[in-house]
């Protein structure tokens, strides 16, 4: 009987949908699901009636899915639905957001748009075990779980790496009850590759994470072995703080924080399935051992673990990283939910025993004497004794050995196809690609104060283990070294991140977030930055609040996410300085003034931090004012020094701010002559100096940015059908339909879309806008609307489509 009904309805549906728009599809699975529930003939009738009436509505729909009518019985929805309304189907618009369509007694459809429905979530009645703890917090129920047992949370974070920790901490600190699921509780915040944080562009990410109230910077400032500022000569926007950290200490410290955070629960589990509700929303996750955990928001931060496979030479082993089992089943589950996945490769070099290295042959690389900090919170600054890193170089023997054995490496032997990072090449890649270079720098870096391992940076390789030691021993200083761990490559599944919005929530499933290496990035900092954003948004989503998206030009975090969701990433993505077009505005030193207010708004910056922040900002601005108004004359003592440094004499009475603009004149010179402000910290002085010294450039870049924003922030409608714009090239239509950019700026950054396409798109939008304007004026001037258009539903539909 059911089968028959299904077929009838399905063919009916096709018949009518073809009549309306051939792009309407139906999912037979969900149809039969609804039929297995109480679907009567009258339902079918009203369904058809609804299909026939609001043509416009479905002309734009992508996909139509039934939801069982019983799920929306009025008794379950006390908040706002008129009892006479009955939910009938979910309409997905082009942005894949679901809107509910209800029928009233006269079979007239009413559309409850996505945005409003989010606000109309159903109240849960005392079933949740934490309902009492979270006063004022609405807990969100899911439809299909009646009678099923499982723990309920607001947010579930899958994965305990750098992304997972930031996500879980942010979410818990925002008041959401958060469950962190990890494969191994002893490996929380583990640094499986080089235990180093920061470096070019990555340091900006860490500063920004800290400014938003993240944890990474604080832990690094507590656990560093060595700190250096890189790129000192290249301008303040690219100064990069880099810290070597103690990997054991780092993991321990982060774990302490995770364990001691209120609202945050941790549990060992291998997640193998994402539970999906009837509204294409996420409901929770199921573990490999069959336990269900429920939450309206789920953040996946699985790193290299999804179907991870490590390679040493030709030998391979299923593992997320050396010694830890991979996670199985989740990729297949995500793929069955319609997500597109790919495969990437990355690697880590061998570790050598520090006790077998001849340091007399190595060049020492000490840390900076004057230590800088990642965190803007002075309480997190803990001075430590620094350790030394060492520098060695490859020799002709190294190159010879690699050339002879190239066929033994996965890439050149041809048995691993996944793409590795171009920006972090293996030693064989470097030697093949830069044939002319006789020698490459290799850094030896300690992994901890009590760890005998030395990380051999720049020496990752896919050669078999039997050749690795011989290869290491070709390096000066390592002739007699012992290897503690072999180098290996790891292959893993990732999700093409254009399936996410800029909030990192997936476009397909509401409440599901992807963050970290799963999105195709590489690096702890990139992972942490995404984790923080995903955590914030997961908590906001579970609380039915507006999600947060960072503009590309607001921060490196915003740039990172914009790149991820816009570009078709086929190799591990690393943050680079040159990826940001307006980096002079996105400096490390002003990360707090850019982002801390946002951190405060979302609730991650406490009163103490906020007070510190405000005091700092007022000190900086009053100092700038002071420097602009304090004048010196050529007879002052400082004048001679300034003239000497800048090779220009002072002839007039000039304010200090003007002096600072001169080349080679720094704030320290003011300090020498007692003209500095002793109340300011070193960081604050630096901030003042940069702001004044490069004022002209900053203003120019600001102008460029404003022009760009004016141009690029022209929004593109959610439901734009790119295939109907015939002036776009075919490639552009495909790419734009896939990425669905939210504004012109994002559209220009989509690969395969050329300027002519953007011009065509702009013209199309402009024509539409002008026509809409005319239409509105015309409709307003119509004294008597035609009798056919008095249908309420249709009018509502039109208003909604706009």
């Amino acid at each position: 009987m059911h089968h028959l009904l299904h077929n009838t309805l399905y063919s009916f549906f096709l018949f009518f949908s073809l009549d309306i728009d051939s792009s309407v599809q139906i999912d037979p699975l969900s149809l039969s699901l609804s039929l297995s529930l109480s679907l009567s003939l009258s339902h079918i009738r009203s369904y058809m009636a609804m299909l026939l009436q609001p043509r416009i509505l479905f002309a734009h729909s992508r996909r139509l899915r039934f939801i069982p009518p019983c799920c929306f019985s009025p008794s379950r929805s006390p908040c706002a639905f008129p009892a006479s309304l009955r939910a009938f189907c979910v309409w997905r618009d082009a942005r894949n957001r679901s809107h509910h369509v209800f029928l009233d007694d006269n079979h007239r459809p009413t559309v409850i748009p996505f945005a409003r429905r989010i606000g109309l979530r159903f109240q849960e009645s005392g079933r949740n075990r934490r309902a009492k703890n979270l006063s004022g917090r609405r807990l969100v129920s899911t439809f299909a779980t009646d009678g099923l047992h499982g723990e309920r949370y607001d947010v579930i974070v899958v994965g305990g790496g750098h992304s997972g920790c930031e996500a879980a901490l942010a979410s818990a600190r925002m008041g959401a009850s958060t469950l962190l699921l990890t494969l191994n509780l002893d490996r929380i915040a583990w640094q499986p590759c080089n235990p180093a944080v920061g470096g070019p562009a990555k340091s900006q990410l860490v500063h920004e994470v800290d400014a938003l109230g993240g944890e990474m910077g604080k832990i690094t400032d507590r656990c560093y072995l060595q700190k250096r500022v890189l790129n000192r000569s290249k301008g303040p926007a690219v100064w990069a703080l880099r810290a070597q950290t103690d990997k054991r200490e780092y993991a321990t410290e982060m774990k302490k924080v995770v364990e001691s955070t209120k609202n945050l629960y941790i549990r060992e589990a291998m997640v193998s399935e994402v539970l999906v509700g009837n509204n294409d929303n996420v409901e929770g996750v199921r573990s490999f051992f069959g336990v269900n955990f429920y939450a309206p928001s789920v953040v996946l931060t699985t790193g290299t673990f999804m179907n991870g496979r490590i390679w040493v030479g030709r030998a391979s082993l299923s593992a997320g990283r050396a010694g830890e089992s991979a996670s199985q089943g989740l990729t297949e589950n995500l793929r069955s939910l319609g997500f597109e996945t790919g495969r990437l490769k990355t690697g880590t070099p061998a570790r050598v025993d520090v006790r077998t290295v001849d340091f007399s042959k190595l060049e020492r690389q000490p840390g900076d004497e004057e230590v800088k900090w990642f965190s803007f919170d002075p309480e997190a600054h803990i001075s430590r004794e620094q350790m030394c890193c060492y520098l060695t170089r490859t020799t002709p023997e190294t190159h010879e050995l690699i050339k002879q054995n190239l066929h033994e490496t996965p890439t050149y032997g041809g048995w691993v196809e996944a793409t590795g990072p171009r920006y972090c090449p293996s030693i064989e890649d470097k030697i093949v690609r830069f044939k002319d270079k006789e020698s490459h720098q290799i850094f030896l870096e300690p992994e901890g104060r009590t760890v005998p391992e030395l990380y051999v940076q720049g020496f990752s390789t896919g050669l078999p283990e039997r050749l690795q030691l011989a290869l290491l021993q070709t390096l000066p200083g390592l002739e007699k070294c012992a290897m503690l761990r072999p180098a290996y490559a790891v292959e893993y599944d990732y999700l093409l991140a254009h399936q996410c919005n800029r909030t990192l929530m997936t476009k397909k499933l509401e409440g599901l977030f992807f963050s970290g290496q799963i999105n195709g990035t590489t690096g702890y900092e990139e992972a942490a930055a995404q984790g923080l954003l995903a955590g914030i948004n997961a908590a906001k989503f579970s609380d039915a609040k507006d999600l947060v998206a960072l503009e590309r030009e607001s921060s490196f975090v915003g740039t990172l996410v914009d790149d991820l969701v816009t570009k078709d990433i086929r190799e591990p993505y690393r943050m680079l300085t040159s990826r940001s077009e307006h980096r002079l505005l996105l400096r490390s030193d002003n990360a707090d003034s850019r982002l801390t207010p946002l951190g405060r708004t979302v609730g991650l910056i406490d009163d103490r931090r906020w007070k510190l922040f405000q005091e700092k900002q007022s000190r900086i601005s009053s100092e700038k004012q002071r420097l602009r108004t304090t004048r010196i004359s050529s007879s002052d003592a400082i004048a001679a020094d300034v003239a000497q440094a800048s090779e220009q004499s002072i002839t007039d009475v000039v304010p200090l701010a003007i002096l600072l603009k001169r080349p080679h004149v720094h704030y320290s010179l003011l300090d020498c002559h007692g003209l500095g402000n002793p109340e300011l910290s070193l960081e604050e002085k630096e901030c003042v100096e940069i702001d004044l010294k490069y004022e002209g450039f900053i203003i120019r870049q600001q102008n460029q940015l404003e022009q760009m924003i004016h141009r690029q922030h022209r929004p593109i409608p959610d439901d734009l059908d790119y295939y109907s714009i015939k002036t776009l090239s075919m490639e552009a239509r495909e790419k734009l339909s896939k990425i669905r950019p939210i504004n012109i700026g994002q559209a220009t950054r989509v690969g395969g879309v050329n300027p002519a396409d953007i011009n065509a798109l702009l013209i199309y939008l402009e024509v539409q806008r002008r026509q809409r304007k005319d239409r509105t004026i015309f409709e307003a001037s119509m004294a008597n609307p035609p009798e056919e258009s008095d249908n309420m539903a249709e009018q509502q539909t039109i208003a909604f489509m706009k």
């Binding site: 290249k234 920006y423 120019r700 015939k726």
Partner: protein, 527 residues
């Protein structure tokens, strides 16, 4: 249905404001499909529909041949409906007409009733090898209003709609056949008033300007990419040679400056040029005007101060339309009328593109000349310094030594401090017509026409393009300054990026609000 009707009504009244509303409504309700298609289709103006227009002038200027041009996916189908090829094979088979691209076919246009409308030549140009990159067919019929209108009407009935002004060019632009600067030059070509102006527009249309600017932009981008690479991958790439960078920037600056030079020419080509003739009374200004314009526009007497008002005459110099302004002789005078004339002379000299100062070769350089020169020159220069002129173009001065037939020497000595301010010295005898060719040649050279033509670069930039070029040049100058001041490499990228943006706005590689509004003002779509 109701909604669709509402929309269509809106379209109708937007497109044809004075169309009788009631009539249209009935038609729409009846669903007269042809009308609906011909009018309502504009709502999706950027998608493919088929447009048709008469490409040759209508009305008074009738030719012996007229052309109807039709473009779009239905072009072939529409023409096939009414076209009977004289080639036997096609007419016998009664099959659909299958045109061969770029092959002219003779045949007849036959209307629905089977009556022959005209004998025509059909020129099919199939996509993408056509002006709009769509299927384009040109029907060449006999001239006069009747034939061409009937053919146009048939095409409209066949499913095409009437093209908006400039819509073929708009499609060419939208379909990537030409970039914005090329599309702009189509209009310039059509409206060109002189051969040189047409040549300049044609040169731009052929992509001379775009490829020149694109090449500069590409070089900037390459340099920018190199600098960016040095920020991230210092160790892996060879170091950046500052001397090399400066050399590349200098070359870029030079090229930008070079194209900026054409801007004055472009302006002159479009709007013409004004030449003011100034000097003391009775040195032969009016004679010069008469001789130059080969007319008797100005009254010439031996009495000093004959010319009181400004006398205009039009000539063509080097392809540019030129307005000559003869002015009152400048001197201290008590006559109220003459005083006003003198004021007007000074004003005319200030507004002119070229100032021709006439002195008498008999008298040599007098204090009166000296006085006039300083009075006008100082005012004119201060205006330039204040940035009134966009292109920093200083008005050239030409010194004409008239009445050489009466002078003892060929060239009278001029004080050195004055001499440097004149770009050219031309001896003439206006009454006998001596030296006028030299004068024209001097003017042509001064406004940059001769030079541009000689190096083969015929295009000229317009106002919009000149502004962006100026922006690019300033950015490059700042960049050089930054390098000189030893600022870190990251700062170099800021000004270089500015130059890239500016250049991109000329070629249309970078989309700007201005470009967009330009398109809409030019093609009047969606109004």
């Amino acid at each position: 249905m109701a909604i669709r009707h509402v929309l269509h009504q809106a379209e109708v009244h937007r497109m044809r404001p004075n169309f009788p509303r009631n009539l249209k409504l009935t038609k729409l309700v009846c669903g007269s499909s042809k009308e609906e298609r011909a009018i309502g289709v504009w709502s999706t103006s950027t998608s493919y529909d088929t447009i048709v227009a008469i490409a040759t002038p209508m009305g008074n200027q009738q030719g012996s041949i007229a052309i109807v041009r039709i473009s779009g996916p239905l072009a072939v189908a529409v023409v096939a409906k009414y076209f009977n090829s004289s080639k036997k094979s096609t007419s016998q088979r009664q099959n659909r007409w299958k045109p061969k691209s770029h092959f002219v076919e003779l045949g007849t246009i036959v209307d629905d009733a089977g009556l022959i409308v005209d004998e025509v030549l059909v020129v099919p140009m199939l996509a993408p090898r056509s002006y709009t990159k769509e299927d384009v067919i040109e029907i060449q019929c006999h001239g006069g209003d009747v034939c061409v209108r009937r053919i146009l009407h048939l095409c409209l009935e066949g499913g095409a709609r009437l093209a908006q002004p400039g819509e073929f060019t708009l499609r060419a632009f939208l379909n990537g056949r030409m970039d914005l600067s090329q599309a702009e030059s189509v209009a310039q070509l059509i409206t060109a008033k002189s051969i040189v102006a047409a040549e300049a527009a044609l040169a731009a249309l052929q992509g001379g300007l775009s490829s020149f600017v694109q090449a500069m932009r590409k070089d900037c981008l390459e340099l920018l990419a190199e600098m960016d690479a040095h920020l991230d991958f210092e160790d892996d790439i060879p170091p950046l040679e500052t001397a090399d960078v400066i050399e590349r920037i200098n070359s870029l600056c030079f090229r930008v400056q070079d194209s900026l030079k054409t801007s004055n020419r472009g302006r002159l080509l479009q709007s013409g040029m004004q030449i003011a003739i100034v000097g003391r009374p009775n040195v032969g200004k009016s004679s010069l005007l008469n001789a130059w314009s080969q007319s008797h526009r100005a009254i010439v007497t031996d009495i000093a101060g004959t010319t009181r008002d400004i006398v205009e005459a039009e000539v063509v110099v080097g392809g540019i339309p030129v307005k000559l302004l003869d002015t009152a002789g400048i001197r201290e005078t008590d006559n109220v009328v003459e005083q006003m004339g003198v004021q007007r002379s000074e004003a005319a000299a200030l507004g002119a593109d070229v100032v021709v100062m006439v002195i008498s070769a008999c008298d040599g350089w007098t204090t009166g000349d000296h006085h006039i020169f300083h009075k006008i020159f100082s005012v004119k220069n201060s205006e330039c310094a204040a940035g009134v002129s966009v292109t920093n173009f200083t008005t050239p001065w030409v010194l004409v030594q008239n009445k050489i037939d009466q002078a003892a020497e060929a060239l009278v000595p001029i004080p050195d401090d004055v001499k440097t301010h004149f770009s050219k010295f031309v001896p003439t005898c206006a009454i006998k017509g001596i030296g006028l060719h030299d004068l024209e040649a001097a003017v042509v050279e001064l406004v940059g026409l001769g030079k541009a033509c000689s190096d083969g670069r015929q295009w000229a930039v317009n106002q919009r393009q000149a502004e962006q070029l100026l922006r690019a040049r300033d950015a490059l100058e700042r960049l050089k300054e930054s390098i000189k001041q030893d600022l870190p490499i990251d700062f170099w990228t800021i000004d270089l990026r500015e130059a890239v943006i500016a250049l991109g706005q000329i070629s249309g590689d970078d989309v700007s609000e201005e470009v967009l509004s330009n398109i809409f003002s030019r093609f009047c779509i969606g109004k």
